[in-house]
């Protein structure tokens, strides 16, 4: 079981309150991603769950048991750190076996579990190397191996992919998702990258300045963001926002429309604009279109082979059904 409940948890460093009291429930087997800009308190929240930081007030429960005062080692959680935090003087085998050795498991069971973890993670041939002799992705796998041998109630990942290059990151993302499918263990994953959050999560927790802005599945957040912050944070490229007359026309303070919900063409549409920089990704092309009358630059998604050029005059047709409206406080009008 890996049911984690935060009740009224808050954290202050000296006089600065980084996390105002919040409640959160993480169900058994869920893959939960904490996402938010840097400094939003997502790592702190993870460390509170891990027990590496003391909670200022409130309580943390795992499987219904209050663990607020329980030291990290006895919470039956395993953590993968951003820097991997491998022990440089130990071989890969010893690194992975370290938690088992600390738990005083007998030698045969230790090596059995290390072998099976190494097998799952494709590390078998590297077991006798030192971490310094491995590539970034292999180190990452060793760190994950060290976490899975303990058979914990939940895994905590603290930005585990941010030190990898882009191609490797996509691979590791798949591997971690695959691992979650096979282990069915609760995983909590911290990232500032909304693409990682969208692709991996069962449930995303969007944080800003220590406050939970919204909790929901990736598509829920994409289709029904609760406020402007979530709307702008989720989705790539970002949602376009318009204020002023055009927003008033829809009875809102701000309106938002995603790049994929605008059609661009030379002859039909209601917003006039001029094509600026275009980004060709192959399958898609993103046009940055300058609209004088709206006083804004909109990002528009089009087919990859759209022939429009820099400086072309175009018309934009938003799908009005997909338009999202926000009031003066930034909350979405439903």
């Amino acid at each position: 079981m890996g049911l984690i409940t935060l009740k009224n948890v808050s954290k202050s460093f000296d006089d600065v309150e980084v996390i105002p009291p919040l409640d959160l429930e993480i169900r058994d087997g869920e893959f939960v991603v904490f996402v938010g800009p840097s400094g939003c308190g997502k790592s702190t929240l993870l460390r509170l769950i891990a027990g590496l930081e003391d909670i200022t007030s409130g309580r943390v429960e795992i499987d219904g048991v209050d663990v607020t005062e329980v030291p990290p080692a006895r919470r039956r959680l395993a953590m993968v750190f951003q820097s991997y935090a491998l022990y440089p003087h130990m071989s890969v085998r010893k690194n992975i076996a370290f938690p088992l050795r600390m738990a005083k498991l007998d030698k045969a069971e230790q090596s059995r579990r290390v072998e099976s973890a190494a097998h799952v993670l494709n590390l078998t041939e590297y077991l006798d190397r030192r971490p310094g002799q491995l590539s970034g992705g292999q180190r990452q796998r060793v760190a994950i191996g060290r976490a899975i041998v303990r058979e914990p109630e939940a895994f905590l990942f603290d930005e585990p992919l941010s030190n990898l290059d882009a191609a490797l990151r996509v691979n590791m993302r798949l591997e971690i998702s695959e691992l979650h499918q096979s282990l069915k263990t609760t995983m909590i994953y911290v990232t500032h990258d909304q693409v990682e959050a969208m692709t991996m999560a069962d449930k995303i927790v969007v944080l800003q300045a220590g406050v939970i802005e919204q909790v929901g599945s990736p598509l829920e957040l994409y289709h029904n963001p609760r406020n402007l912050f979530v709307a702008s944070f989720i989705g790539s490229p970002k949602m376009n926002f318009l204020r002023g007359d055009e927003a008033d026309r829809h009875g809102a303070h701000t309106i938002g429309i995603r790049p994929e919900h605008i059609r661009i063409s030379a002859n039909e549409g209601e917003w006039k604009g001029t094509v600026g920089v275009s980004e060709h990704l192959g399958a898609d092309t993103f046009f940055h279109v300058r609209c004088e009358e709206l006083g804004a630059t909109l990002t528009v998604r089009a087919d990859g082979d759209n022939p429009l050029q820099y400086g072309d005059s175009v018309l934009l047709a938003p799908e009005l059904a997909k338009l999202q409206r926000f009031d003066a406080d930034g909350l979405r009008i439903t």
């Binding site: 590496l52 080692a73 935090a85 022990y87 370290f98 600390m102 303990r150």
Partner: protein, 278 residues
């Protein structure tokens, strides 16, 4: 062309070495000037068969090893302590480092007269307060007393090197081991000490070089005595050449000391030098 600096350095080192080698084969006593004559290996023979030579070897090794043990264990503990967040940490660090700035003669005299003196010393006064017999350190435990003084001088060096090494330890490694179930003792044994291994090697190498040639502390406290209880090799060479005026014998002792120091250095590099390879 050999550069002038190298030439100067060569003269600086080779001339004294050559002269020492030359003197070590002469019968050369300052009380009999002008009577120098070639004697072959006689000086070496007498120096090596002198009973105080083996005492000196034993004392030298005891001194080096004793001080190394105390400074490294003490240095690790102090470094761990100083790495903690505490009030007035900077001042405490400064105070810990202070003994290193006191010159050896001065610190030895301070210890001899203000702490270990059997009548007026602080320790004698303290044991007097407790109604105990004052302990005469230099009479009953002369070598241990000198080890204590030298350790006090070198503890700051070890602490400083180990503290900087400790500060370079990745905090996430400690946190990871904490999550992995390692208690504070296990964290020290499995994470901190292996991380410090290289720094400890450096401390051992540097301190050994300097501890083999301890002299001032012995000169101002015990003068090598009682008997030969605190005579190390350096002091024996000094005694031979300047107390017995036997420059030939002293030079032979000096050459022997060079050879022994090199043997120790080779052993050290063999044993712990591989720690220095990354």
């Amino acid at each position: 062309m050999i550069s002038p600096a190298v030439a100067l350095l060569l003269c600086w080192m080779l001339v004294p070495l050559g002269l020492t080698l030359y003197f070590s084969f002469l019968r050369y006593n300052l009380l009999m000037p002008g009577m120098e004559q070639w004697t072959g290996w006689t000086n070496y023979y007498f120096f090596l068969t002198d009973p105080s030579f083996w005492d000196a070897i034993r004392n030298t090794l005891t001194l080096v090893i004793g001080v190394l043990i105390i400074t490294i264990i003490g240095g690790v503990l102090l470094a761990l302590l100083l790495d903690q967040e505490m009030w007035g940490r900077n001042i405490v660090r400064l105070l810990v480092i202070a003994p290193f700035f006191v010159m050896p003669t001065v610190s030895a005299l301070v210890w001899k007269n203000m702490f270990m003196n059997p009548v007026n010393g602080l320790f004698a006064q303290l044991s007097g307060l407790l109604g105990l017999e004052p302990f005469d350190f230099f009479a009953h435990a002369p070598l241990s007393s000198i080890i204590a003084i030298v350790s006090w001088q070198w503890l700051p060096f070890a602490t400083l090197i180990l503290l900087t090494a400790l500060q370079s330890l990745d905090r996430e490694q400690l946190e990871a081991s904490e999550m992995d179930g390692a208690g504070s003792i296990n964290r020290l044994l499995f994470i901190v000490l292996p991380h410090l291994a290289r720094a400890i090697t450096v401390v051992i190498l540097i301190q050994t070089i300097f501890l083999l040639s301890i002299f001032a502390e012995i000169l101002v406290t015990t003068n090598g005595g009682p008997g030969t209880a605190t005579t190390n090799l350096t002091f024996l060479v000094y005694a031979q050449s300047l107390l017995q005026f036997d420059v030939g014998g002293g030079s032979a002792g000096g050459v022997i000391a060079i050879v022994l120091a090199n043997i120790v250095a080779i052993f050290l590099m063999r044993m712990i030098g591989r720690n220095l390879d990354a």
